[in-house]
């Protein structure tokens, strides 16, 4: 059993899901690195600067919970795969930075530190806001890995979960209070949910921080990879030992909030109220209206507010304005709930 999470930082905390807007020029530089036109040291220095800018943007927008924008990462998984001992990547060069590596497991995965703590600490040193650290979950990694050893997705998932569990514990020891597991493939493979829950519980065992689980419909190239329903994941998902579920409702509407009531869900909800697949910037009132629906069903004390997914593919100026709208919408609801103008 995991200890209960600490109280939220405030009523209706506002957060990003994970990634922040990647400017076109940064995409070009990342590709330049993969094509040996830019050194790793130079790219690292550029990453440090853009992360500072991303944190500043999130603070200026008024978020309570920030991330490093995942700006060091090429895509959802490669950043982690290159750190996992036992995962072999035969060809490191990419035509385009966002492409996936062809990664393969040819033997048992050994336990080893992955070096994610330093990244968390870098961001935490730069802000007084609560820093969320996100990483792809075992199911997502299983879907991206070529398995030539375990021969069973569940077995590979369990092996990954054991390695990542140690890293989550190290992050907590370094001060992380909010960790998020990203499983965007799950909505496309609802038939996997039973073993995924088992694996997730191994992943988070003994992790003494608030653990969120993010499930969306994919955001590769800023478009969904699947369409379907969260319903297919219930009730099996309810056995996951997490504290918060982070789901998308901005793009798809709030219809599936009913699952919360139908299944008596006990978790917090990180409610996606801003569509990251549309450049249109929502108004504060529109955001507030969605939040009210969440408040009605989940309760204000268990509701967190965030975009549907990462903002990686949204133009930087649009991403910032969407966050402003999100914060303003949450403030409208908070004001009405508390009766305080400064809420």
């Amino acid at each position: 059993m995991r200890p209960p999470p600490p109280p939220p930082p405030r009523l209706l905390p506002t957060a990003v899901v994970g990634s922040y807007a990647v400017p076109e020029w940064l995409e070009r530089l990342k590709t330049d690195y993969h094509q040996r036109r830019l050194s790793a040291a130079t790219l690292d220095a550029i990453h440090d600067v853009v992360i500072k800018a991303a944190l500043k943007d999130q603070e200026r927008a008024g978020l309570d919970v920030v991330t490093d924008g995942e700006l060091r990462r090429d895509n959802l998984v490669d950043h982690l795969l290159v750190r996992l001992p036992g995962v072999e990547i035969d060809r490191r060069q990419k035509a385009y930075y966002y492409d996936y590596y062809d990664a393969v497991v040819r033997g048992p995965l050994p336990q080893a530190p992955l070096g994610l703590v330093a990244e968390f600490q870098f961001a935490q040193r730069l802000t007084d806001r609560l820093v969320k650290y996100c990483l792809p979950g075992p199911h997502t990694l299983v879907k991206r890995l070529r398995d030539e050893y375990y021969g069973d997705p569940r077995a590979l998932g369990l092996a990954l979960a054991r390695v990542l569990n140690a890293e989550l514990r190290a992050l907590v020891a370094a001060g992380a209070q909010l960790l998020q597991i990203d499983e965007p493939y799950l909505s496309g493979y609802p038939e996997d949910v039973a073993w995924v829950v088992e694996v997730l519980n191994v992943l988070v065992a003994g992790v003494g921080a608030r653990v969120a689980l993010h499930i969306c419909y994919g955001n590769r190239y800023g478009k969904p990879q699947w369409e379907g329903s969260y319903r297919a994941l219930f009730p099996a998902l309810l056995r996951a030992e997490v504290d918060q579920l982070v789901l998308e409702f901005g793009r798809r509407g709030v219809g599936e909030l009913g699952l919360w009531r139908e299944y008596g869900v006990r978790w917090e909800l990180g409610m996606g109220v801003v569509d990251v697949k549309d450049e249109r910037v929502e108004g504060a009132e529109e955001v507030a209206e969605r939040i009210w629906r969440g408040v009605e069903v989940v309760g204000a004390e268990r509701l967190w507010v965030n975009p549907d997914c990462g903002l990686r593919h949204v133009a930087p100026e649009v991403a910032y304005r969407k966050l402003e709208a999100l914060v303003a919408g949450a403030a409208l609801v908070r004001r009405e709930l508390t009766g305080r103008a400064d809420a």
Binding site: E191, Y217, Y221, K223, E227, G228, S229, K277, D278
Partner: protein, 480 residues
């Protein structure tokens, strides 16, 4: 040294260009110009009706509008005639090396502009808006203008294969509980409606073979910018009743009208739509990159003939043309006379071309809505001089259609795609005239580049269901 580029060698019969080259050398020598800065291209324009005079002189300009020292003459070897050759070459050389803007021997209908902005597209639009009047006047359907008189869009074997694949997708979604209640199908540019009918008939038969009830869930959306075309198409597919809806939408931006279907359409298709949408062109000459600019004109003899035939004083001709394009052939007392006037102007219509240098190709965005796509990325894939289409509005349409596609949906375009940039070197790729419409080949590699930036692999396969077909089938798949 004068550079002569032979663009006609592929797929065409041998041409004796000896007399041409002799006349060319003689005229160049007579004019005392520097041949080092003169490029001559010899083309074979397979479109019998097109916008080019047989000998077409082109000037080069710097980005600030000043004249560059480079010159070009493009010659259509298909229309070579020994007797008229020398005077035509002399006239072209005079045009290239004299000061001033020219235009004395022609009626200019516009200033130089990007090809996609030219008045020729107003003629194209008029054709589709008033198709039935045109067809009535000339007693033939527009399909008869197609090579072979047949559209590859209605080939039953092709559709059986494609829809079998589609049914596999539907079955998989259904098995996993992910199939939406309504199966949206979108056709862009509907022609006569026969493509919709073949689609629905074939789908019905395949569903019956497999014992599926998907047909009742199909919502088939026929979309076109011409109400006239939609009306005809609707009648062709009438037996499917309210399962078929007609939408009058702008092909350049389907998402604007259909935003409620974002990521919901399971099958999107079109046939010979993109090749009929406005396009720009770029060219690289001696390492420098240029935009092609055009201005439409009518040659003086044609002006005289049209005015005589339609009892118009020559000064009133531009106004008559503008009103025809705004109102249609009913601007004339008799619609048939209006159509004949329109057809005569269209037949005579020519484009004068020039090149304007692009100073920084790395900052040139061929598809403004996808800023990550850079022109130099495309040009870097091919060496030497080349001229290519940018498929301007077709790509806008592509970019604004993909967001409608369901993540497991099928996207399919049957059209005239160049599959390798090298193909721009061997054969003329448009613009040509087909009846009252325009045809341009499409830059397949540019579609692939744009698709990749949007997360799609773009596949280009030759249409293998009819011999000697020029059709290429574009399909997409989600990029990993």
């Amino acid at each position: 040294m004068m550079l002569v580029q032979l663009n006609y060698l592929r797929n065409h019969r041998a041409v004796d260009v000896g007399p041409l080259l002799a006349a060319l050398c003689e005229e160049v020598e007579r004019s005392a110009i520097d041949p080092a800065h003169l490029k001559v291209t010899l083309d074979w324009l397979q479109y019998k009706k097109n916008f080019r005079p047989p000998v077409d002189p082109r000037r080069y300009f710097l980005a600030d509008g000043s004249v560059n020292c480079e010159r070009e003459i493009a010659i259509d070897v298909r229309r070579l005639s020994d007797d008229g050759l020398a005077p035509a070459l002399r006239s072209a050389l005079e045009y290239l090396y004299r000061d001033g803007q020219g235009g004395e021997d022609r009626l200019l209908l516009e200033e130089f502009c990007r090809p996609s902005q030219s008045i020729i597209w107003a003629f194209n639009r008029t054709f589709w808006q008033h198709l039935s009047e045109w067809e009535r006047t000339f007693q033939r359907g527009f399909l008869s203008a197609l090579p072979g008189g047949v559209s590859d869009g209605t080939n039953p074997a092709f559709w059986r294969d494609r829809l079998t694949l589609f049914l596999d997708v539907l079955d998989d979604l259904n098995r996993r509980g992910l199939l939406p209640e309504e199966i949206y199908v979108l056709e862009l540019g509907v022609g006569t409606g026969h493509q919709a009918k073949v689609w629905l008939d074939t789908f019905r038969d395949l569903c019956a073979d497999r014992g599926r009830d998907y047909l009742r869930r199909v919502r088939y959306l026929m979309s076109d910018y011409s109400p006239d075309v939609l009306y005809t198409a609707r009648r062709t597919a009438a037996e499917y009743g309210e399962q078929v809806s007609c939408l009058n939408i702008d092909a350049a931006d389907p998402l604007h009208s259909l935003a409620f279907l974002r990521y919901k359409v399971l099958f999107i298709h079109s046939c010979n739509l993109y090749d009929n949408l406005p396009t720009d062109e770029v060219a690289r000459r001696n390492g420098k990159v240029y935009e092609v600019r055009v201005r439409a004109y009518l040659p003086a003899p044609a002006v005289e003939a049209i005015c005589a035939a339609h009892h118009l004083p020559p000064p009133e001709l531009p106004t008559a043309i503008q009103r025809l394009l705004r109102i249609g052939p009913s601007y004339f007392d008799s619609v048939e006379e209006g159509v004949r006037f329109w057809a005569a102007v269209w037949e005579a219509l020519r484009l004068e071309e020039c090149y304007v240098q692009i100073e920084d190709p790395s900052s040139y965005r061929p598809v403004p809505s996808v800023p990550g796509v850079r022109l130099d990325t495309l040009l870097d894939t091919v060496a030497g001089d080349i001229r290519m289409h940018l498929s301007t509005v077709a790509l806008e349409s592509f970019v604004h259609t993909l967001p409608l596609l369901h993540p497991r949906g099928l996207f399919q375009v049957q059209d005239l795609f160049v599959t390798s940039l090298e193909q721009y070197r061997g054969t003329f790729r448009g613009p040509g005239k087909l009846d009252g419409a325009i045809v341009n080949w499409l830059n397949g590699p540019l579609f692939q580049l744009v698709g990749a930036h949007l997360g799609y692999q773009v596949h280009l396969e030759p249409f293998r269901y009819r011999e000697r077909s020029n059709t290429v089938v574009l399909t997409t798949s989600q990029k990993e």
